[in-house]
């Protein structure tokens, strides 16, 4: 095992920048993958031999992954546990990662798979703790319209089936198109579309007739 991994270690390098045209144009771009990543630590590469560089790299993607995993798992402690596993798996997989997918997509896919594994292990559908969603200090203090609607949509989101929740988060909150969301979820784009449609319909209901 050890020898196998070392044989597959790619040489150190920084990579040709992602460009809009390479990803199908601005309309096809995911929000954060087109944002410049921070410079690599010490100007060096990201390999499975440099945990610090790897951590610096994943910090660029950490917030969107937290956003997704928390909404899928519904608990902050579980989110942390899942993301520890996600990053560990990604670190192990570095030698075999050849850039066929964008790094963000790759990490999303790992994260989704870990969430599925964890949910299967727990044998239950999670529910986002509603009181927590409403009572977080920075939300609870704001009785404005948007804050309330956020609470409503968070509640409705937490009650969606897992597949719909993941689809609508990837497409509507994270900006993926159906094709790439399908890559992450392991389903055809059309399936993503139908899941998103059902999810949106449910969420619109939660916001009331005005929305």
């Amino acid at each position: 095992m050890k020898e196998t991994r070392r044989r597959h270690v790619e040489p150190a390098m920084t990579v040709a920048p992602l460009r809009l045209e390479e990803r199908g144009g601005a309309d096809d771009a995911t929000p954060f993958e087109l944002a410049p990543a921070p410079a690599p630590v010490r100007g060096g590469p990201v390999t499975d031999e440099d945990p610090d560089a790897f951590i610096e790299m994943i910090k660029h993607y950490d917030r969107p992954l937290r956003a997704l995993v928390y909404r899928l798992m519904g608990d902050r402690d579980v989110m942390d546990d899942v993301l520890q596993d996600v990053y560990l798996r990604a670190f192990r997989a570095l030698p075999s990662f050849r850039g066929d997918a964008a790094p963000g997509t790759w990490l999303y896919r790992i994260a989704y798979n870990v969430c599925i594994d964890e949910l299967r292990r727990r044998q239950r559908q999670p529910r986002v703790p509603l009181d927590e969603m409403h009572d977080q200090p920075h939300d609870g203090i704001d009785p404005g319209d948007v804050a309330t609607m956020r609470g409503d949509v968070a509640q409705a989101l937490g009650e969606l089936p897992m597949d719909q929740r993941a689809a609508v988060l990837l497409v509507d909150a994270h900006g993926y198109d159906y094709a790439r969301a399908g890559d992450i979820l392991g389903v055809p784009p059309g399936t993503v579309g139908s899941r998103v449609s059902r999810a949106r319909a449910t969420l619109r209901l939660a916001l009331g007739p005005q929305s």
Binding site: P11, F91, P137, H138, S211
Partner: protein
């Protein structure tokens, strides 16, 4: 790309605004330990659960250096073309040259001396009120607007104290919330009992005001001060639409409005305190006639000094503490150009009495809605104060569409748009909300924006404001100004050269 309209846009915007929890404090320490343990598996003999990082990291680095030197020398040419895409280098998107980025196109720069001289040339627009200068104490009841069918309107009681410097303390009686805000440092401390646990959230580097979302601004959003400023501005230009009245023994402005609430509410009735600009009564109804929001001030005092102990009282002890930065770092006019890479546009002329109170910059901001306006970068915000009155002037770059989204990493600066072609922008003050864009175009004839069409928004749901696109910059001026004042300030903007 998915096109969304109407309710889907609202849903998407709300999904992007959902809070994202932080990791536990030791998250990355634990991860680092795991990764080093994992890394050891391939170098040493067995994984260890307890790692002395200080010793073993050094050993590993020596080993790595040898390995990497060997790999680099053997495969460097291939490395240059291979696509092991894990690090996206800086400068990956088309950037303008440094010279091009430095100066907003068409702007004639003014020096610091010009701005100093201009301080004594403030213009005066007659006001129907004398701005309050002693701070305000207020008690009021308001509700959390309901969107879920059959949700009851529950009024909660608040008390607030706001100083003329902009500091405030706000408390909700039950369930208990205590908020201290410091205008000088741009920080806020919020105490609340969450799931039975007393919690404190420290927020730093808060935005200075609109167009950033109201829950991040420098006034308690609960008091709807923006609505008060709007009614005062409407009164200045269309006095027939506003009725002079009295409430709580104080001179007040009263107006009824239909249609400006977008999909939030159909009709509203507002009474605004003339001296302080705070609404004394707000009632908003949905299309079906049910109450959407209510705000009822029961006591307001503005002619007595506010002791410091009332502005920042000690908060109860909390068992849970968390911190959050909103990324608006304090700066000075002399330093902002270095921070953002261009000369900011600064007003040479402000209404009499307004003084520059705070300057801040933010490297990148999530777009408010993400579906219409691009993400923002290199934001410069200036807030001017005249007692309780404020004006916020911001300049920001439009980042490439989709470059940030709500998932941007703090501190990541996107490339600016490499085009000066007009963007299809929405009003930055209402984008991402169900409120309509009712701003009206007007051409500016002086200053850096000479020849530009700016949009003036005076309607009773948002701060009175002007917004415009100038090259790849987006300009906003918002606050306690009427149309004439807004246009005069907009026409006095100049690129600032220190």
């Amino acid at each position: 790309m998915i096109r969304r309209r109407g309710g889907d846009t609202t849903v998407a915007a709300l999904l992007r605004q959902l809070p994202v929890p932080e990791h536990a404090d030791d998250f990355f320490d634990r991860l680092r330990a795991q990764l080093y343990a994992e890394s050891d598996v391939s170098v040493d003999t067995a994984a260890s659960t307890v790692i002395d990082l200080s010793v073993r990291r050094g050993d590993r680095r020596q080993e790595r250096s040898r390995t990497q030197r060997m790999l680099r020398s053997a495969t460097a040419p291939a490395a240059a073309v291979a696509c092991f895409v894990l690090v996206v280098g800086g400068g990956l998107l088309a950037r303008r040259t440094a010279e091009e980025r430095q100066r907003p196109s068409g702007a004639a720069p003014a020096t610091a001396r010009d701005f100093t001289a201009a301080k004594n040339q403030r213009f005066v627009v007659p006001q129907p009120y004398t701005p309050a200068k002693t701070g305000v104490r207020v008690r009021f009841g308001t509700n959390m607007p309901g969107h879920v069918p059959n949700r009851e309107v529950q009024v909660q009681s608040f008390e607030g104290v706001i100083s003329p410097a902009g500091d405030y303390h706000l408390s909700r009686v039950a369930p208990s919330i205590e908020v201290n805000f410091s205008a000088q440092s741009g920080s806020r401390t919020m105490y609340q009992v969450v799931k039975g646990k007393p919690s404190v959230l420290y927020q730093s580097d808060l935005p200075l005001g609109p167009p950033e979302p109201p829950d991040q601004a420098n006034l308690p959003a609960t008091l709807s001060r923006d609505l008060g400023a709007a009614v005062r501005a409407i009164n200045a230009e269309r006095p027939a639409d506003v009725k002079r009245t009295e409430r709580l023994g104080r001179p007040a402005l009263e107006m009824t409005d239909q249609g400006s609430g977008g999909t939030l509410f159909q009709k509203q009735h507002v009474i605004v305190d003339v001296r302080t600009g705070f609404p004394l009564l707000v009632e908003q109804w949905k299309a079906d006639g049910t109450l959407y929001r209510t705000l009822d001030v029961t006591e307001i005092v503005d002619d007595q000094p506010i002791p410091a102990s009332m502005i920042a009282p000690p908060l109860p002890t909390a068992t849970t503490q968390s911190t959050e930065s909103k990324h608006f770092a304090a700066s000075t006019l002399a330093d902002v150009a270095k921070a953002v890479g261009y000369q900011p546009l600064v007003p040479l002329s402000m209404p009499a009495g307004f003084e520059l109170a705070r300057v801040a910059t933010a490297p990148s901001l999530d777009p408010v809605d993400g579906q219409t306006n691009p993400a923002y970068a290199d934001v410069v915000a200036l807030v001017y104060r005249r007692g309780l009155d404020t004006v916020t002037v911001t300049t920001r770059r439009a980042a490439p569409a989709g470059a940030l989204g709500s998932v941007s990493a703090p501190g990541v600066v996107p490339a600016p748009l490499a085009t000066t072609a007009p963007l299809q922008l929405k009003d930055p003050l209402v984008q991402g909300t169900p409120l309509p864009d009712m701003s009206q175009p007007t051409t500016i004839s002086t200053g850096a924006l000479a020849g530009d069409v700016v949009n003036v928004g005076i309607y009773p749901v948002v701060w009175p404001h002007v917004w415009a696109q100038h090259g790849d910059l987006i300009i906003t001026i918002a606050g306690d100004l009427n149309r004439r004042e807004l246009l005069q300030v907009a026409g006095s903007l100049q690129a600032y050269v220190h």
